[in-house]
Protein backbone atom coordinates (compact mmCIF):
# COMPACT_ATOMS: atom_id res chain seq x y z
CA UNK A 1 0.00 0.00 0.00
CA UNK A 2 2.82 2.37 0.82
CA UNK A 3 4.16 1.94 -2.68
CA UNK A 4 0.84 2.74 -4.35
CA UNK A 5 0.25 5.82 -2.20
CA UNK A 6 3.78 7.01 -2.97
CA UNK A 7 3.32 6.35 -6.68
CA UNK A 8 0.16 8.50 -6.59
CA UNK A 9 2.17 11.30 -5.01
CA UNK A 10 4.89 10.80 -7.61
CA UNK A 11 2.50 11.11 -10.54
CA UNK A 12 0.76 14.17 -9.10
CA UNK A 13 4.08 15.84 -8.39
CA UNK A 14 5.09 15.18 -12.00
CA UNK A 15 2.03 17.03 -13.26
CA UNK A 16 2.69 19.90 -10.88
CA UNK A 17 6.21 20.15 -12.30
CA UNK A 18 4.89 20.23 -15.85
CA UNK A 19 2.22 22.80 -14.99
CA UNK A 20 4.52 25.21 -13.18
CA UNK A 21 6.97 25.55 -16.05
CA UNK A 22 4.61 26.14 -18.93
CA UNK A 23 5.61 29.64 -19.91
CA UNK A 24 8.86 31.09 -18.64
CA UNK A 25 10.67 34.05 -20.23
CA UNK A 26 14.11 33.19 -21.63
CA UNK A 27 15.63 35.62 -19.19
CA UNK A 28 14.70 33.38 -16.31
CA UNK A 29 15.83 30.06 -17.77
CA UNK A 30 19.18 30.16 -16.02
CA UNK A 31 17.87 31.17 -12.57
CA UNK A 32 15.08 28.63 -12.89
CA UNK A 33 17.48 25.83 -13.78
CA UNK A 34 19.67 26.89 -10.89
CA UNK A 35 16.68 27.03 -8.52
CA UNK A 36 15.37 23.58 -9.41
CA UNK A 37 18.96 22.40 -9.15
CA UNK A 38 19.03 23.53 -5.53
CA UNK A 39 15.74 21.75 -4.81
CA UNK A 40 17.01 18.32 -5.84
CA UNK A 41 19.63 18.74 -3.14
CA UNK A 42 16.80 17.23 -1.10
CA UNK A 43 18.70 13.92 -1.50
CA UNK A 44 20.53 15.25 1.55
CA UNK A 45 17.57 13.87 3.53
CA UNK A 46 18.39 10.33 2.38
CA UNK A 47 21.87 10.69 3.82
CA UNK A 48 20.44 12.02 7.10
CA UNK A 49 17.91 9.18 7.38
CA UNK A 50 20.41 6.41 6.69
CA UNK A 51 23.21 7.80 8.84
CA UNK A 52 20.79 8.64 11.67
CA UNK A 53 19.15 5.20 11.50
CA UNK A 54 22.11 3.06 12.40
CA UNK A 55 25.10 2.90 10.06
CA UNK A 56 27.58 1.20 12.34
CA UNK A 57 29.91 0.09 9.55
CA UNK A 58 32.84 2.49 9.17
CA UNK A 59 32.82 2.43 5.37
CA UNK A 60 29.06 3.12 5.32
CA UNK A 61 29.62 6.05 7.60
CA UNK A 62 32.31 7.51 5.37
CA UNK A 63 30.08 7.15 2.28
CA UNK A 64 27.14 8.76 4.08
CA UNK A 65 29.14 11.69 5.43
CA UNK A 66 30.33 12.36 1.88
CA UNK A 67 26.75 12.01 0.60
CA UNK A 68 25.49 14.49 3.21
CA UNK A 69 28.30 16.90 2.38
CA UNK A 70 27.51 16.59 -1.35
CA UNK A 71 23.82 17.17 -0.71
CA UNK A 72 24.56 20.16 1.51
CA UNK A 73 26.82 21.69 -1.17
CA UNK A 74 24.00 21.19 -3.68
CA UNK A 75 21.39 22.82 -1.42
CA UNK A 76 23.37 25.69 0.06
CA UNK A 77 25.35 26.51 -3.07
CA UNK A 78 22.32 26.16 -5.31
CA UNK A 79 20.11 28.55 -3.38
CA UNK A 80 22.89 31.12 -2.87
CA UNK A 81 23.90 31.14 -6.53
CA UNK A 82 20.28 31.51 -7.62
CA UNK A 83 19.82 34.38 -5.19
CA UNK A 84 22.89 36.15 -6.52
CA UNK A 85 21.73 35.74 -10.10
CA UNK A 86 18.27 37.08 -9.32
CA UNK A 87 19.83 40.00 -7.46
CA UNK A 88 21.23 41.13 -10.81
CA UNK A 89 17.72 41.71 -12.12
CA UNK A 90 16.68 43.98 -9.29
CA UNK A 91 16.22 47.64 -10.12
CA UNK A 92 18.96 49.83 -8.75
CA UNK A 93 17.55 53.32 -9.38
CA UNK A 94 20.09 55.32 -7.36
CA UNK A 95 23.18 53.58 -8.62
CA UNK A 96 21.90 53.83 -12.15
CA UNK A 97 21.16 57.57 -12.03
CA UNK A 98 24.59 58.21 -10.56
CA UNK A 99 26.39 56.24 -13.23
CA UNK A 100 24.55 57.85 -16.12
CA UNK A 101 25.27 61.30 -14.70
CA UNK A 102 28.95 60.46 -14.34
CA UNK A 103 29.19 59.21 -17.90
CA UNK A 104 27.58 62.30 -19.35
CA UNK A 105 30.00 64.65 -17.66
Amino acid sequence: MTLLANLAILVLAGFVGFAVISKVPNTLHTPLMSGTNAIHGIVLLAGLVLLGRSASDVFDRVLLVIAIAFGAINVVGGFLVTDRMLGMFKKKPNAEAGKVAAVHE
Binding site: L28, H29, V43, A46, G47, L64, F70, M85
Partner: protein, 462 residues
Protein backbone atom coordinates in the same frame (compact mmCIF):
# COMPACT_ATOMS: atom_id res chain seq x y z
CA UNK B 1 6.42 12.20 16.15
CA UNK B 2 6.08 10.58 12.75
CA UNK B 3 2.85 12.52 12.14
CA UNK B 4 4.68 15.74 12.96
CA UNK B 5 7.45 14.86 10.50
CA UNK B 6 4.92 14.04 7.79
CA UNK B 7 3.09 17.32 8.42
CA UNK B 8 6.34 19.26 8.23
CA UNK B 9 7.17 17.49 4.95
CA UNK B 10 3.81 18.61 3.55
CA UNK B 11 4.60 22.20 4.51
CA UNK B 12 8.05 21.82 2.97
CA UNK B 13 6.89 20.60 -0.42
CA UNK B 14 4.05 23.13 -0.49
CA UNK B 15 6.74 25.79 -0.08
CA UNK B 16 8.82 24.21 -2.89
CA UNK B 17 5.88 24.36 -5.29
CA UNK B 18 4.93 27.89 -4.24
CA UNK B 19 8.54 29.01 -4.53
CA UNK B 20 8.92 27.46 -7.96
CA UNK B 21 5.80 29.25 -9.23
CA UNK B 22 7.46 32.46 -8.08
CA UNK B 23 10.63 31.63 -9.98
CA UNK B 24 8.78 31.75 -13.28
CA UNK B 25 8.13 35.52 -13.13
CA UNK B 26 10.79 38.25 -13.02
CA UNK B 27 9.25 40.16 -10.12
CA UNK B 28 8.52 37.27 -7.81
CA UNK B 29 11.64 35.24 -8.60
CA UNK B 30 13.91 36.28 -5.71
CA UNK B 31 11.15 35.72 -3.18
CA UNK B 32 10.30 32.38 -4.80
CA UNK B 33 13.86 31.19 -4.38
CA UNK B 34 13.83 32.25 -0.73
CA UNK B 35 10.52 30.45 -0.17
CA UNK B 36 11.92 27.22 -1.59
CA UNK B 37 14.98 27.66 0.63
CA UNK B 38 12.77 27.91 3.72
CA UNK B 39 11.00 24.75 2.58
CA UNK B 40 14.34 22.98 2.38
CA UNK B 41 15.31 24.09 5.89
CA UNK B 42 12.00 22.77 7.25
CA UNK B 43 12.50 19.42 5.47
CA UNK B 44 15.99 19.05 6.96
CA UNK B 45 14.87 19.91 10.49
CA UNK B 46 11.91 17.53 10.20
CA UNK B 47 14.20 14.69 9.16
CA UNK B 48 16.48 15.31 12.12
CA UNK B 49 13.42 15.00 14.42
CA UNK B 50 13.18 11.30 13.52
CA UNK B 51 13.07 9.38 16.83
CA UNK B 52 16.20 7.38 17.57
CA UNK B 53 18.46 9.37 15.30
CA UNK B 54 22.06 8.62 16.15
CA UNK B 55 25.48 9.54 14.77
CA UNK B 56 24.81 13.24 15.48
CA UNK B 57 28.46 14.20 15.30
CA UNK B 58 28.89 12.62 11.89
CA UNK B 59 25.69 14.24 10.62
CA UNK B 60 26.96 17.60 11.83
CA UNK B 61 30.32 16.90 10.20
CA UNK B 62 28.68 16.24 6.82
CA UNK B 63 26.47 19.33 7.02
CA UNK B 64 29.35 21.57 8.10
CA UNK B 65 31.64 20.20 5.39
CA UNK B 66 29.01 20.86 2.73
CA UNK B 67 28.31 24.36 3.98
CA UNK B 68 31.97 25.29 4.30
CA UNK B 69 32.58 24.22 0.70
CA UNK B 70 29.29 25.40 -0.80
CA UNK B 71 28.92 28.90 0.63
CA UNK B 72 32.26 30.40 -0.46
CA UNK B 73 32.00 28.64 -3.83
CA UNK B 74 28.60 30.21 -4.43
CA UNK B 75 29.63 33.63 -3.18
CA UNK B 76 32.94 33.92 -4.97
CA UNK B 77 32.04 32.50 -8.36
CA UNK B 78 32.04 35.13 -11.07
CA UNK B 79 28.81 35.74 -12.94
CA UNK B 80 30.57 34.56 -16.09
CA UNK B 81 31.36 31.19 -14.53
CA UNK B 82 27.76 30.55 -13.45
CA UNK B 83 27.02 27.75 -15.95
CA UNK B 84 29.85 25.51 -14.78
CA UNK B 85 28.97 26.22 -11.14
CA UNK B 86 25.40 25.04 -11.73
CA UNK B 87 26.82 21.97 -13.48
CA UNK B 88 29.03 21.25 -10.48
CA UNK B 89 26.24 21.67 -7.91
CA UNK B 90 24.08 19.41 -10.02
CA UNK B 91 26.85 16.84 -10.17
CA UNK B 92 27.35 16.57 -6.42
CA UNK B 93 23.58 16.08 -6.03
CA UNK B 94 23.80 13.13 -8.40
CA UNK B 95 26.86 11.86 -6.53
CA UNK B 96 24.94 11.93 -3.26
CA UNK B 97 22.17 9.83 -4.83
CA UNK B 98 24.65 7.24 -6.09
CA UNK B 99 26.41 7.01 -2.71
CA UNK B 100 23.12 6.63 -0.86
CA UNK B 101 22.12 3.79 -3.19
CA UNK B 102 25.42 2.05 -2.56
CA UNK B 103 24.91 2.29 1.21
CA UNK B 104 21.36 0.96 0.84
CA UNK B 105 22.79 -2.05 -0.98
CA UNK B 106 25.39 -2.68 1.72
CA UNK B 107 22.98 -1.95 4.56
CA UNK B 108 20.39 -4.48 3.36
CA UNK B 109 22.97 -7.15 2.40
CA UNK B 110 22.38 -6.76 -1.31
CA UNK B 111 18.68 -5.84 -0.89
CA UNK B 112 18.03 -9.23 0.77
CA UNK B 113 15.92 -7.65 3.52
CA UNK B 114 13.81 -5.18 1.54
CA UNK B 115 10.80 -5.23 -0.81
CA UNK B 116 11.33 -5.66 -4.55
CA UNK B 117 10.29 -2.13 -5.43
CA UNK B 118 12.98 -0.77 -3.11
CA UNK B 119 15.57 -2.79 -5.03
CA UNK B 120 14.33 -1.50 -8.38
CA UNK B 121 14.06 2.18 -7.42
CA UNK B 122 17.35 2.15 -5.56
CA UNK B 123 19.20 0.58 -8.50
CA UNK B 124 17.57 3.05 -10.90
CA UNK B 125 18.75 5.88 -8.63
CA UNK B 126 22.26 4.38 -8.55
CA UNK B 127 22.55 4.32 -12.36
CA UNK B 128 21.03 7.74 -13.02
CA UNK B 129 22.87 9.38 -10.10
CA UNK B 130 26.22 8.05 -11.29
CA UNK B 131 25.58 9.16 -14.90
CA UNK B 132 24.57 12.59 -13.63
CA UNK B 133 27.62 12.98 -11.36
CA UNK B 134 30.23 12.08 -13.98
CA UNK B 135 28.39 13.75 -16.85
CA UNK B 136 28.19 16.98 -14.87
CA UNK B 137 31.89 16.81 -14.02
CA UNK B 138 32.70 16.55 -17.73
CA UNK B 139 30.33 19.44 -18.49
CA UNK B 140 32.09 21.45 -15.78
CA UNK B 141 35.50 20.58 -17.23
CA UNK B 142 34.45 21.65 -20.70
CA UNK B 143 32.91 24.95 -19.62
CA UNK B 144 35.86 25.72 -17.34
CA UNK B 145 38.06 24.94 -20.35
CA UNK B 146 39.99 22.29 -18.43
CA UNK B 147 38.83 19.97 -21.20
CA UNK B 148 38.61 21.02 -24.86
CA UNK B 149 35.20 22.49 -25.72
CA UNK B 150 35.02 20.90 -29.13
CA UNK B 151 33.20 17.59 -29.49
CA UNK B 152 35.44 14.63 -28.64
CA UNK B 153 33.90 11.70 -30.42
CA UNK B 154 34.73 8.12 -31.22
CA UNK B 155 32.74 8.40 -34.44
CA UNK B 156 30.79 5.31 -35.39
CA UNK B 157 31.91 3.35 -32.34
CA UNK B 158 30.25 5.88 -30.03
CA UNK B 159 26.66 4.66 -30.18
CA UNK B 160 27.35 0.91 -29.80
CA UNK B 161 29.77 1.66 -26.96
CA UNK B 162 27.22 3.77 -25.09
CA UNK B 163 24.58 1.10 -25.61
CA UNK B 164 27.00 -1.55 -24.33
CA UNK B 165 27.79 0.49 -21.21
CA UNK B 166 24.10 0.95 -20.49
CA UNK B 167 23.59 -2.80 -20.97
CA UNK B 168 26.40 -3.59 -18.52
CA UNK B 169 24.92 -1.23 -15.91
CA UNK B 170 21.39 -2.58 -16.33
CA UNK B 171 22.74 -6.14 -16.49
CA UNK B 172 24.45 -5.73 -13.11
CA UNK B 173 21.17 -4.34 -11.80
CA UNK B 174 19.17 -7.30 -13.11
CA UNK B 175 21.66 -9.75 -11.57
CA UNK B 176 21.29 -8.01 -8.21
CA UNK B 177 17.52 -8.06 -8.59
CA UNK B 178 17.62 -11.80 -9.26
CA UNK B 179 19.34 -12.37 -5.95
CA UNK B 180 23.07 -12.04 -6.58
CA UNK B 181 24.55 -10.40 -3.48
CA UNK B 182 28.12 -9.75 -4.56
CA UNK B 183 29.20 -6.21 -3.90
CA UNK B 184 31.24 -6.31 -7.10
CA UNK B 185 27.95 -6.08 -8.98
CA UNK B 186 26.89 -2.74 -7.48
CA UNK B 187 30.42 -1.41 -7.94
CA UNK B 188 30.37 -2.59 -11.55
CA UNK B 189 27.00 -0.92 -12.03
CA UNK B 190 28.24 2.38 -10.63
CA UNK B 191 31.40 2.29 -12.75
CA UNK B 192 29.59 1.36 -15.98
CA UNK B 193 27.13 4.22 -15.38
CA UNK B 194 30.04 6.55 -14.61
CA UNK B 195 31.81 5.75 -17.88
CA UNK B 196 28.49 6.13 -19.68
CA UNK B 197 28.04 9.62 -18.19
CA UNK B 198 31.52 10.59 -19.38
CA UNK B 199 31.02 9.11 -22.84
CA UNK B 200 27.65 10.79 -23.35
CA UNK B 201 28.82 14.29 -22.48
CA UNK B 202 32.29 14.22 -24.08
CA UNK B 203 31.04 14.33 -27.69
CA UNK B 204 28.67 17.21 -26.97
CA UNK B 205 29.91 20.64 -27.86
CA UNK B 206 28.76 24.01 -28.97
CA UNK B 207 25.57 25.64 -27.91
CA UNK B 208 24.25 22.22 -26.88
CA UNK B 209 25.99 22.45 -23.51
CA UNK B 210 23.20 24.38 -21.71
CA UNK B 211 20.68 21.82 -22.87
CA UNK B 212 22.84 19.02 -21.49
CA UNK B 213 23.18 20.68 -18.09
CA UNK B 214 19.43 21.11 -17.96
CA UNK B 215 18.94 17.47 -18.94
CA UNK B 216 21.37 16.25 -16.26
CA UNK B 217 19.50 18.47 -13.80
CA UNK B 218 16.27 16.70 -14.68
CA UNK B 219 18.06 13.33 -14.32
CA UNK B 220 19.26 14.14 -10.82
CA UNK B 221 15.71 15.18 -9.94
CA UNK B 222 14.32 11.85 -11.14
CA UNK B 223 16.96 9.89 -9.25
CA UNK B 224 16.13 11.86 -6.10
CA UNK B 225 12.46 10.93 -6.55
CA UNK B 226 13.45 7.26 -6.95
CA UNK B 227 15.50 7.44 -3.76
CA UNK B 228 12.43 8.93 -2.08
CA UNK B 229 10.34 5.94 -3.19
CA UNK B 230 12.97 3.52 -1.88
CA UNK B 231 13.11 5.25 1.50
CA UNK B 232 9.36 6.02 1.71
CA UNK B 233 10.09 9.73 2.06
CA UNK B 234 7.36 11.98 0.61
CA UNK B 235 9.39 15.19 0.67
CA UNK B 236 12.02 13.58 -1.54
CA UNK B 237 9.43 12.06 -3.88
CA UNK B 238 7.67 15.37 -4.45
CA UNK B 239 10.74 17.59 -4.69
CA UNK B 240 12.63 15.16 -6.90
CA UNK B 241 9.72 14.57 -9.24
CA UNK B 242 8.94 18.28 -9.60
CA UNK B 243 12.54 18.92 -10.60
CA UNK B 244 12.49 15.93 -12.93
CA UNK B 245 9.31 17.09 -14.67
CA UNK B 246 10.07 20.81 -14.82
CA UNK B 247 13.64 20.06 -15.84
CA UNK B 248 12.41 17.96 -18.74
CA UNK B 249 10.12 20.79 -19.90
CA UNK B 250 12.90 23.35 -19.52
CA UNK B 251 15.27 21.13 -21.50
CA UNK B 252 12.67 20.86 -24.22
CA UNK B 253 12.12 24.64 -24.32
CA UNK B 254 15.86 25.17 -24.69
CA UNK B 255 16.24 22.52 -27.37
CA UNK B 256 13.33 24.08 -29.26
CA UNK B 257 14.98 27.50 -29.14
CA UNK B 258 17.82 25.91 -31.08
CA UNK B 259 15.63 23.83 -33.37
CA UNK B 260 17.28 20.65 -32.09
CA UNK B 261 15.76 17.55 -30.61
CA UNK B 262 17.00 16.15 -27.31
CA UNK B 263 17.72 12.67 -28.75
CA UNK B 264 19.77 14.28 -31.53
CA UNK B 265 21.80 16.23 -28.98
CA UNK B 266 22.45 13.19 -26.80
CA UNK B 267 23.24 11.04 -29.84
CA UNK B 268 26.16 13.24 -30.78
CA UNK B 269 27.39 16.80 -30.83
CA UNK B 270 27.64 19.20 -33.70
CA UNK B 271 29.49 17.69 -36.62
CA UNK B 272 28.85 14.19 -35.34
CA UNK B 273 26.35 13.50 -38.09
CA UNK B 274 28.07 15.21 -40.97
CA UNK B 275 31.82 15.22 -40.75
CA UNK B 276 32.24 16.61 -44.26
CA UNK B 277 30.33 19.78 -43.46
CA UNK B 278 33.16 22.26 -43.56
CA UNK B 279 32.98 25.61 -45.32
CA UNK B 280 30.96 24.26 -48.22
CA UNK B 281 28.93 27.47 -48.56
CA UNK B 282 29.91 27.80 -52.19
CA UNK B 283 32.28 30.40 -53.56
CA UNK B 284 32.79 32.51 -50.45
CA UNK B 285 35.44 35.15 -50.54
CA UNK B 286 37.92 33.76 -48.03
CA UNK B 287 39.55 37.05 -47.10
CA UNK B 288 38.51 39.12 -44.13
CA UNK B 289 38.67 42.87 -43.74
CA UNK B 290 40.36 44.15 -40.61
CA UNK B 291 39.48 47.41 -38.96
CA UNK B 292 40.77 49.58 -36.11
CA UNK B 293 39.13 50.79 -32.93
CA UNK B 294 39.17 54.35 -34.31
CA UNK B 295 37.30 53.28 -37.45
CA UNK B 296 34.78 51.31 -35.44
CA UNK B 297 34.19 54.30 -33.16
CA UNK B 298 33.73 56.56 -36.18
CA UNK B 299 31.20 54.22 -37.78
CA UNK B 300 29.16 53.84 -34.63
CA UNK B 301 29.49 57.42 -33.43
CA UNK B 302 27.79 58.74 -36.57
CA UNK B 303 25.22 55.96 -36.87
CA UNK B 304 21.61 56.44 -35.94
CA UNK B 305 20.95 52.84 -34.90
CA UNK B 306 23.44 50.37 -33.43
CA UNK B 307 22.59 46.81 -32.43
CA UNK B 308 25.05 45.13 -30.06
CA UNK B 309 25.17 41.33 -30.28
CA UNK B 310 26.91 39.93 -27.20
CA UNK B 311 28.13 36.35 -26.98
CA UNK B 312 30.40 34.11 -24.97
CA UNK B 313 33.42 36.28 -25.84
CA UNK B 314 31.89 39.11 -23.83
CA UNK B 315 31.40 36.76 -20.90
CA UNK B 316 34.95 35.40 -20.97
CA UNK B 317 36.62 38.77 -21.01
CA UNK B 318 34.13 40.26 -18.49
CA UNK B 319 33.43 43.05 -20.96
CA UNK B 320 29.86 43.79 -19.82
CA UNK B 321 30.75 46.94 -17.86
CA UNK B 322 32.90 48.25 -20.72
CA UNK B 323 30.01 47.56 -23.10
CA UNK B 324 27.66 49.46 -20.84
CA UNK B 325 29.99 52.47 -20.79
CA UNK B 326 30.37 52.43 -24.56
CA UNK B 327 26.61 52.18 -25.02
CA UNK B 328 26.05 55.14 -22.69
CA UNK B 329 28.52 57.25 -24.67
CA UNK B 330 26.79 56.35 -27.92
CA UNK B 331 23.42 57.23 -26.46
CA UNK B 332 24.85 60.53 -25.28
CA UNK B 333 25.58 61.22 -28.94
CA UNK B 334 21.98 60.45 -29.88
CA UNK B 335 22.59 56.96 -31.25
CA UNK B 336 19.84 54.45 -30.59
CA UNK B 337 21.48 51.43 -28.96
CA UNK B 338 19.93 48.02 -28.44
CA UNK B 339 21.26 44.64 -27.40
CA UNK B 340 20.16 41.58 -29.34
CA UNK B 341 20.02 38.54 -27.10
CA UNK B 342 19.96 35.11 -28.69
CA UNK B 343 18.22 32.59 -26.43
CA UNK B 344 21.33 30.43 -26.20
CA UNK B 345 24.04 33.06 -26.54
CA UNK B 346 26.85 32.27 -24.13
CA UNK B 347 26.83 28.92 -22.43
CA UNK B 348 23.40 29.05 -20.87
CA UNK B 349 20.01 30.48 -21.78
CA UNK B 350 19.68 33.91 -20.23
CA UNK B 351 23.46 34.07 -19.68
CA UNK B 352 23.73 37.42 -21.51
CA UNK B 353 20.74 38.90 -19.71
CA UNK B 354 22.32 38.12 -16.36
CA UNK B 355 25.65 39.70 -17.32
CA UNK B 356 24.18 42.85 -18.87
CA UNK B 357 21.81 43.25 -15.93
CA UNK B 358 24.86 43.04 -13.67
CA UNK B 359 26.34 45.98 -15.60
CA UNK B 360 23.07 47.95 -15.15
CA UNK B 361 22.10 47.91 -18.81
CA UNK B 362 18.46 49.09 -18.87
CA UNK B 363 16.03 46.21 -19.30
CA UNK B 364 14.30 47.99 -22.24
CA UNK B 365 17.53 47.82 -24.28
CA UNK B 366 17.65 44.03 -24.11
CA UNK B 367 15.74 42.62 -27.07
CA UNK B 368 14.97 38.95 -27.59
CA UNK B 369 15.63 37.33 -30.94
CA UNK B 370 12.09 37.49 -32.36
CA UNK B 371 11.76 41.14 -31.38
CA UNK B 372 15.02 42.33 -32.90
CA UNK B 373 15.37 40.18 -36.00
CA UNK B 374 13.08 42.37 -38.11
CA UNK B 375 15.08 45.43 -37.10
CA UNK B 376 18.54 44.48 -38.30
CA UNK B 377 17.66 45.78 -41.79
CA UNK B 378 17.28 49.26 -40.33
CA UNK B 379 20.44 49.16 -38.21
CA UNK B 380 23.48 51.07 -39.45
CA UNK B 381 25.94 48.99 -37.49
CA UNK B 382 25.70 45.58 -35.87
CA UNK B 383 28.49 45.17 -33.33
CA UNK B 384 29.13 41.50 -32.63
CA UNK B 385 31.04 41.02 -29.38
CA UNK B 386 32.41 37.51 -29.18
CA UNK B 387 29.30 35.83 -30.57
CA UNK B 388 29.84 33.29 -33.32
CA UNK B 389 27.52 30.37 -34.02
CA UNK B 390 24.35 32.34 -33.21
CA UNK B 391 25.18 34.80 -36.01
CA UNK B 392 26.24 32.28 -38.67
CA UNK B 393 24.09 32.72 -41.80
CA UNK B 394 24.87 29.11 -42.73
CA UNK B 395 22.14 28.14 -40.27
CA UNK B 396 19.64 29.70 -42.70
CA UNK B 397 21.21 29.01 -46.08
CA UNK B 398 23.42 25.94 -46.00
CA UNK B 399 21.63 22.62 -45.48
CA UNK B 400 25.00 20.88 -45.23
CA UNK B 401 26.00 22.88 -42.17
CA UNK B 402 25.74 21.11 -38.82
CA UNK B 403 23.85 24.07 -37.38
CA UNK B 404 21.41 24.29 -40.30
CA UNK B 405 17.93 25.11 -39.03
CA UNK B 406 19.00 26.71 -35.78
CA UNK B 407 17.31 30.13 -35.46
CA UNK B 408 19.96 32.86 -35.62
CA UNK B 409 20.20 36.61 -35.25
CA UNK B 410 20.01 38.18 -38.72
CA UNK B 411 23.16 40.20 -38.19
CA UNK B 412 24.08 39.96 -41.88
CA UNK B 413 21.09 42.17 -42.74
CA UNK B 414 22.54 45.22 -41.02
CA UNK B 415 24.14 47.87 -43.25
CA UNK B 416 27.54 47.11 -41.82
CA UNK B 417 28.87 44.62 -39.34
CA UNK B 418 31.81 44.94 -36.94
CA UNK B 419 32.97 41.74 -35.29
CA UNK B 420 35.11 41.80 -32.14
CA UNK B 421 36.91 38.48 -31.87
CA UNK B 422 40.06 37.07 -30.33
CA UNK B 423 41.26 35.34 -33.50
CA UNK B 424 39.95 33.68 -36.62
CA UNK B 425 39.54 30.36 -34.83
CA UNK B 426 36.18 28.65 -35.21
CA UNK B 427 33.45 28.94 -32.58
CA UNK B 428 32.57 26.50 -29.83
CA UNK B 429 30.78 24.37 -32.42
CA UNK B 430 34.02 24.19 -34.41
CA UNK B 431 32.63 25.46 -37.71
CA UNK B 432 33.46 28.45 -39.92
CA UNK B 433 31.25 31.53 -40.00
CA UNK B 434 30.54 32.96 -43.46
CA UNK B 435 29.55 36.23 -41.86
CA UNK B 436 33.22 37.09 -41.39
CA UNK B 437 33.89 36.86 -45.11
CA UNK B 438 30.96 39.11 -46.04
CA UNK B 439 31.81 42.31 -47.94
CA UNK B 440 30.27 44.58 -45.33
CA UNK B 441 31.88 42.88 -42.35
CA UNK B 442 35.03 44.19 -40.73
CA UNK B 443 36.91 42.42 -37.98
CA UNK B 444 38.58 43.93 -34.92
CA UNK B 445 40.83 41.29 -33.40
CA UNK B 446 41.72 41.23 -29.72
CA UNK B 447 40.29 40.65 -26.27
CA UNK B 448 36.67 41.87 -26.21
CA UNK B 449 37.12 43.99 -23.10
CA UNK B 450 40.17 45.89 -24.31
CA UNK B 451 38.69 46.30 -27.79
CA UNK B 452 35.52 47.82 -26.35
CA UNK B 453 37.59 50.02 -24.03
CA UNK B 454 39.65 51.27 -27.02
CA UNK B 455 36.49 52.06 -28.96
CA UNK B 456 35.17 53.91 -25.93
CA UNK B 457 38.34 56.00 -25.71
CA UNK B 458 38.06 56.83 -29.41
CA UNK B 459 34.41 57.78 -28.95
CA UNK B 460 35.35 60.21 -26.21
CA UNK B 461 37.63 62.20 -28.51
CA UNK B 462 35.34 61.97 -31.52
Amino acid sequence: MNELISALYIIAFALFIYGLTGLTGPRTAARGNLTAGVGMAIAIVATLLTPGTSNWLLIALGLVLGTVVGVPAAQRVKMTAMPQMVALFNGVGGGAVALVAWVEFRDSHGYATVADYVTVTSLFAAIVGSVSFWGSLIAFGKLQEVLPGKPISLGRAQQPLNAALLLVAVGCGVAIGLGQRSQLLIIGLLIAAAVLGVMVVLPIGGADMPVVISLLNAFTGLSAAATGLALDNTAMIVAGMIVGASGTILTNLMAKAMNRSIPAIVAGGFGGTNAAAGPVGGPVDQTVRQTSAADAALQMGYASQVVIVPGYGMAVSQAQHAVREMASLLEGRGVEVRHAIHPVAGRMPGHMNVLLAEADVPYEQLKEMDEINGEFGRADVALVIGANDVTNPAARSNPASPIYGMPILNVDQARSVIVLKRSMSAGFAGIDNELYFDQKTSMLFGDAKSSVAEITEELKVL
